[in-house]
Symmetry: C2
Amino acid sequence: MPTIKDVAKRAGVSISTASYALNNLPNVHPETKQRILDAAKELNYYPNGIARNLKTKKTGNIGVFVYGFSGPIFSDVLEGIRQKLQQNDYNIIVSSGKASKNLLNERQVDGAIIFDNNLTDECLKHYASHGYPLFVLDRFIKGENIHSTVIDNEGIVKQFILQMIAMGHRDFGYLSGPNDAFNNNRRYQGFVEALKENHIDKHRFYQGDFTIEGGYKIGLEIAKDQKRPRFIYCANDESAIGLMNALHEKNIDVPREVALAGFDNISLGEYLHPKLTTIGIDHSKWGKDVAQAVIDLINGRKIKIISHPEGKIILRETHQN
Amino acid sequence: MPTIKDVAKRAGVSISTASYALNNLPNVHPETKQRILDAAKELNYYPNGIARNLKTKKTGNIGVFVYGFSGPIFSDVLEGIRQKLQQNDYNIIVSSGKASKNLLNERQVDGAIIFDNNLTDECLKHYASHGYPLFVLDRFIKGENIHSTVIDNEGIVKQFILQMIAMGHRDFGYLSGPNDAFNNNRRYQGFVEALKENHIDKHRFYQGDFTIEGGYKIGLEIAKDQKRPRFIYCANDESAIGLMNALHEKNIDVPREVALAGFDNISLGEYLHPKLTTIGIDHSKWGKDVAQAVIDLINGRKIKIISHPEGKIILRETHQN
DNA sequence: TTGTAAGCGTTATCAG
DNA sequence: CTGATAACGCTTACAA
């Protein structure tokens, strides 16, 4: 593969002049510049990015550190990030596990977006202190050069439940996700607060696991229970779908006998019968905003704080009473 | 940030000795080695990956070039690739558009997996000829250093339709995806061949677009049509879901009045009523196999040819007659 | 077993 | 406007 040296030789100039021309710097005579550009074209020359990175101490890469690609939400955030980075000529390096640490340690990224519980606060603070801007999406964390933004699970679920109460619902159950899931716990907290504010001091609690299968199993139990609640708030849409399937199978009418709602606004919800009431987060926009912020940080610009992604309540059919 | 120079100085040795020790090469006195390792630890030293890459002409990065992250199938393949690369200490660099070309041109990846129509055959062949192993997943293409693997849409759809014919179906329709989609066209071809072999010389053709919404619209039309086919093969599951929703809404029984099936085996299919009959590709395994092949190619090893990912017919409920 | 030094392909400083 | 030349931080003959 040709190097800048080859280009320079072919154009009959020095390496530095070739570099100037190739990088569009002023102070190169138009004619020589053209000669250099022609030579580059003839040789099919492209700069070696690695060498440039070494010299400039920039990579043009932004790391996105995840624990995996599964989950529909995830790919939306990722897609938002990707679009924004691409617009700004940054590369996106997705990685997980040990590789993520390496990329930071070995300075192969200019900054990173983190969506991976396995990277500890301590670890992240360490890297950030070396000057890499970090944006964390799955927890609260504060520090120099380190920013975080999380879904306002608590606030929006509370708001939703308050709305349901206003519509007349008073007999609630909560179909939980895993106990160790940050999102689940915050959602539950919002749920509880809404009830408390309205002096509803009892509710049922069902332990699910965020999956359709999990929701389905709970649904079968609930179907058998004559004293089941009138409204079951599900920690995510998938649980809600499973739950609804089980209820249908047992000929329990949704929403007439049991109303329900979920969280996430997965695309399927709109095509269920009845249509799923849920809470939607604009994941794609979230990804874009975060990506833009990281780019700004890398370039030393001020950023506006992104405390939460936008979320909205989507009333369809399953909540009605 | 400390460099190897700092480590060497602190340990009182030369840079090269430090390098030897840090890279676990033999012929370093255990005591000096320890001194060097200690110094590195004290300084919190990590090698600069960029510098190492420049020297060794390897990056440890493998590019995955896509047009976007949307679609459930996609994330499965990606997840498979990610897992396999991670196991082998390779980083995965996902990128799209212009950035993909740059990464290749600028030698920032050791090889690449391509899932992006926008990168032309010509373009890919050019890069491959420079020694980067390429694996293309969305089309047929042959060349030095360049491999491809595609879903056997044609074969498996044909096999499925033959099975349906054997079960007694003879009155078919095809709900198409976009006309310019490689996958769609191959599936249609398989469908047509199966009919032909059985001397069924007529079928209906409906133009959809791979989306739930598109399937739904077609479904409304089909519902009105008294001469509609008894079996509609849908080019993907999402179309099938849309179609089924429309039929339900119009009180047309699936599968008694209209049987149907899809392609992709999206997770939801199992939770529909009736459960969706479909064709499933093991995307995750596909991703893993391809990733392994690329790793092998980079390391100059022989690979076994991956002509197609594994696929299987999943008979559930919507196909019955 | 350790050190010297060349070089990877750029960019950037400084003279000319 | 152009050209030497010194970095960037590392690996790796080769020499000692």
